[in-house]
Structures are given as structure tokens and as C-alpha cells.
Amino acid sequence: MPQRLFGTATIDVDADGFMTDFAQWTREVAAAIAKEEGIVELTPAHWKVIEFMHKEFKENGQVPSIRKLNKSGVVTTKELYDLFPGGPAKKAAKIAGMKKPEGCV
């Protein structure tokens, strides 16, 4: 399994760079992945999305869809695309240390 080194943290990732062991996730790792994805700084708005995704995953075992995020009141679809430009569902999941979203919506 491929590994990545972020600062002092070594993390396991899949072929697309998504983390495979959530226990290795830290806020520093998230910030480092974000930088690679072109997000210079994770703002409170980004963190709100990431925290909601973690909560949803804990409760349902699923990475929430853009539709679910929009309906949650945490972030609108427009804001989500602004926060994570060029593929919000995938990028947010990657930064949040979750698996690649599988749905089509």
C-alpha cells in the first residue's frame, strides 16, 4: 500500500491518494493534503464542512453527498464549490481523511 509523508506524519493512502486509515488523520495532515489540492489555507468554513463529514460518517458510515451537505444547512452547494474548487465532494473527502465518494450525485 502506498504511503505519504506529511511533515512528521506517515499516512497510508490508496492509488488516488485517499487515506485508508482514519486513525492517522490529524488537522495538520488535513492542511497538508489541502495545500496539495490547491487550498492554501483551511478556513473555519472549510472546517465546518470537514467536521460535518466526520459526524455523518460516524453516524451512517457514508461520505455525505453534495446534496446532503446542502440540505444540512452547513454549507450551500455554491459555497461548497467555492471552498473546494474543481471537485468539491472528492476534495473535501480527501482532506477529511475519508475514502473516495462512490455516488454519482
Binding site: G87, A89, K90, C104, V105
Partner: protein
């Protein structure tokens, strides 16, 4: 990657749920991958962006071999509405939104929506007849101009 798709322009020409959903899924899915997406609605596909029709789009139960049932059963009153409601329930479970919400979601995702001029003239429609997400009414020449440099998908 050089061989990545950067832009798609999708034509939705057919009415009915099975006519409009594939194009919507592909356009919204493109935006989810960071691909620029345009949607061009023509002929009966235009129901998906027409205010008074977009919330009432049904699945055809007559003459639709994909329904796996005799067409005679499909002519029963209310059968199309019933089949549609069953299908919508299933789709909601897997997070596929109803047409009006899908249109809004795609537009919020940055997808551009256009209505076909020839169809607008034929059905005597006006800009006000369309949902606010529709950018403009354009002719086929303008469509090609907008689609230039990308892929065109006809559904």
C-alpha cells in the same frame, strides 16, 4: 493529465424521467469532477426547465420497453403517476434529487443552462416560462460557439 476532459456540452432532447435524468446526472457529475458543463434543452427535453412542467415529469409506461411490462397495463389510469412515485422514492434514497432540485443543484454547481430557440418558437414560449436558472435562449449556432473546444453529448 493531458487527456482529461475539460468541458462538456450536453443536449437533453427527450421528455419523461428517463429522457431528462441521464443528461442531468452527466452534467452535474462533470461539475463534481471540475469539468466545465453546459446543458442545452431542446424539444420535449425542455420540460425539465419549464416552470409549469419541471415538477411533473413522469416515466412513460406506454411504449417503453424498458418498463418490462405490457403496454396495455401502462394505459391504466394513474399508472404512470404510480410508477413515477415509486421510482422517485427509490431515487431519493440513493440521493438523486427530483428534477427541479436537480436543476437548481446543477446550476449552483456552476453548470450553464440554455434553452433552444427553435423549440421556444415552436411551442411559443417566453423567457418567463423558464426557471430562473436558465441563462438564455440560444440558437444552434450559438450552441456550437459555446460548446467549442469541448465534447458534445446528445441525449
Amino acid at each position: 493529465m493531458e487527456d482529461q476532459i475539460k468541458k462538456v456540452s450536453i443536449i437533453i432532447s427527450k421528455g419523461g424521467l428517463d429522457g431528462v435524468y441521464p443528461g442531468l446526472i452527466m452534467a452535474n457529475g462533470a461539475r463534481m469532477e471540475g469539468i466545465e458543463a453546459n446543458l442545452f434543452f431542446t424539444f420535449f427535453g425542455m420540460d425539465a426547465i419549464t416552470k409549469k412542467r419541471m415538477g411533473k415529469i413522469k416515466i412513460a409506461t406506454v411504449g417503453n420497453p424498458g418498463m418490462h411490462m405490457p403496454s396495455l397495463a401502462g394505459i391504466l389510469p394513474g399508472f404512470s403517476a404510480f410508477a413515477t412515485s415509486m421510482m422517485m422514492k427509490t431515487m431519493d434514497k440513493i440521493d438523486i434529487p427530483p428534477v427541479p432540485e436537480y436543476i437548481e443543484m446543477a446550476a449552483d454547481a456552476g453548470c450553464k443552462l440554455y434553452a433552444c430557440k427553435a423549440t421556444v418558437d415552436m411551442f411559443k414560449l417566453k423567457k418567463e416560462d423558464f426557471c430562473p436558472q436558465v441563462d438564455s435562449i440560444i440558437n444552434v449556432g450559438k450552441f456550437y460557439e459555446i460548446a467549442a473546444g469541448g465534447h458534445i453529448i446528445f441525449t
